[in-house]
């Protein structure tokens, strides 16, 4: 146990995981309430095509993925704004486009299947110090931007039209949320993989929504749930010798079920 606590691998995983959890826990609340929970999923697909492109060009796949993901995010907003589509149709279009492009790129080259697989489940137990720094900076940026725009974000999430009339720069903030999500998704891709990054964006936030009575508490509880998922996920990975990413999501699901029960029992905060 003491070896574990001094192990660099463990500490890096924990630290980067907590940073990711912070970003996901906070952003997730806004996404879920804006009924955009699947945007993480859609952007993960877009990021996937970015990774494929990176492997084809044989140049910094994660960085290329980030760029592609940001472009995809902007495209989703543009289509949504000018296409007069229902709900998450724009998201569906872009994410399928991303996936199709990814598969096409993979089949064009057919030479990096295994490398790409690494991003299905992420490698939180094998990240470099540089990636820990990146997660830290991302989390900091998310916290600062959300803090600065906190009231405006609540306003527009709760009542977009009135917020617009009150002079809240809704479009700019929406863009900010989507771009932050895109960055978080790419980081999540590296840490927990394409399949699970959506889970971290959605599950803690949804769990928190079951029991929280105010917006502030929703954010706090969501972040708390995220933290607990990451920490206990990594510890469970040690004790049960199972992949960390899967355990993290498993704990998050348990918390969600717990929150549902707690709501039934009128145990709310």
């Amino acid at each position: 146990m003491t070896e574990l606590l001094t192990s660099g691998i463990f500490l890096r995983a924990l630290l980067a995981g907590l940073f990711l959890a912070l970003a996901c826990g906070l952003l997730g609340v806004f996404l879920v309430l804006r009924k955009e929970a699947m945007i993480g999923h859609g952007l993960a697909h877009v990021a996937f095509s970015g990774l494929a492109l990176g492997f084809i060009l044989n140049f910094m796949p994660l960085a290329i993925s980030l760029v592609v993901c940001l472009l995809g995010a902007i495209l989703i907003l543009e289509i949504r704004e000018h296409g007069s589509l229902y709900g998450d149709t724009a998201l569906g279009i872009i994410s399928s486009a991303g996936l199709a492009l990814g598969i096409l790129l993979v089949s064009l080259k057919r030479g990096f299947g295994v490398e790409l697989m690494s991003f299905l489940f992420g490698d939180i137990l094998a990240i470099s110090s540089g990636e820990v720094w990146f997660s830290g900076v991302l989390a900091l940026v998310v916290v600062i931007l959300l803090k600065i725009n906190y009231q405006a974000l609540i306003f527009m999430t709760f009542d977009r039209e009135t917020a617009l009339v009150s002079g809240v720069r809704v479009k700019r903030l929406e863009r900010m949320l989507v771009l932050l999500t895109a960055m978080t998704v790419v980081l999540g891709l590296k840490l927990v993989g394409i399949l699970l990054v959506t889970a971290l964006l959605v599950i803690p936030a949804s769990a928190s929504l079951q029991v929280a009575q105010s917006f502030k508490k929703t954010l706090l509880i969501s972040t708390l749930f995220s933290f607990v998922s990451i920490i206990s996920g990594i510890f469970l990975s040690y004790w049960l010798d199972t992949p960390a990413a899967a355990m993290i999501v498993f704990v998050a699901l348990l918390l969600f079920v717990g929150a549902l029960i707690s709501k039934k029992k009128k145990l709310i905060f």
Partner: protein, 306 residues
């Protein structure tokens, strides 16, 4: 005179038929053989030479387990005389392909089944990396030679000659492995990847420790990583190996903890771009593996002892 004419025409007809027969043997279509992965392709190609045409279903480097057929692959499969594959542990999708084709492929050689038939020692159902065992490769070559001779009896001699040569090369390399991997500073063989080198380790008496099981997609648990780190520290292991075709995230992370050195090994399946470009052969890759192992494990070899 009339008789002569008849004779003449008979002769002409005979010549015509004979020549057309001759032409047909010369233009006889080459045997079409489908393989799944690069090591099989390499071995089979070495046997068939000009008499056969080998098509590798999974491009070198693509993911094997979730392989998907392209239309052109189906066309290739339709014309196949022989399929050489490893077995369901590696290509679980093969039966589905036959259903898709609507018929059975004429002849099949499954590496695993061939070994099972002769009671090959140490077979593990879930571990498909048979080609990394040179003794197993030898048996495969034998089986392929026999099957080809059956499909193309005229080439019997040709195949068996080429087969002999290949088997000699294989057993030479095997002997080199035996000799050079004797007397190592350490025989702890840590692979920060999936369990691909089980057969190889067993053959040359290395003590294999892999990060994950036989499936390259699975992720390791933290406990396993910590155990390996402790093993490295306790036994003062100097080398950790990774699969040369993938970025060694885990090996790097472990190296950062322990200061251990990284060495690439090839599974022969996923080649690096430059290896594909240089058309490096499977046995050459194995030879490289031997050099790497020797250097990394600090082996002095049997000859030095004398």
């Amino acid at each position: 005179m009339k008789k002569n004419k008849v004779l003449f025409f008979a002769l002409l007809l005979f010549l015509f038929l004979a020549s057309s027969q001759l032409a047909r043997t010369e233009q006889q279509p080459k045997l079409k053989i489908i393989t799944t992965i690069y090591p099989l392709t390499e071995l089979v190609q070495n046997i068939t030479g000009d008499r056969g045409e080998v098509f590798q279903l999974i491009p070198t480097g693509a993911e094997v387990h979730n392989f998907q057929l392209r239309p052109s692959d189906v066309a290739q499969l339709r014309q196949a005389d022989l399929l050489v594959a490893v077995g369901p542990a590696l290509e679980p999708w093969l039966p589905k392909i036959e259903t898709a084709l609507g018929r059975k492929i004429k002849q099949k050689i499954y590496f695993f089944d061939e070994l099972k038939k002769v009671g090959f020692p140490g077979l593990v159902e879930q571990d498909p990396h048979l080609w990394l065992d040179l003794k197993a490769d030898d048996l495969l070559v034998k089986a392929v030679v026999n099957q080809l001779a059956e499909l193309d009896p005229k080439g019997r001699l040709y195949y068996s000659e080429r087969g002999q040569k290949l088997r000699a090369k294989i057993s030479n390399l095997d002997r080199e492995f035996q000799e050079q991997l004797a007397n190592c500073r350490s025989n702890i063989f840590i692979v920060a990847g999936h369990q691909a080198f089980g057969y190889l380790a067993r053959r040359y008496h290395l003590q294999l420790v892999s990060l994950v099981g036989a499936n390259p997609e699975s992720r390791p648990g933290l406990k396993k990583i910590q155990e390996i780190i402790e093993l490295i520290k306790k036994e003062q292991v100097k080398a950790i190996f990774y699969e040369s075709s993938v970025t060694p995230y885990y090996a790097r992370a472990i190296a950062q903890e322990t200061g251990i050195e990284l060495y690439p090994l090839s599974t022969g399946v996923h080649l690096r771009p430059e290896e594909i470009k240089n058309k490096i052969g499977f046995l050459q890759l194995m030879k490289q593996n031997l050099e790497t192992l020797k250097k990394a494990l600090g082996c002095s070899g049997r000859k030095d002892r004398q």
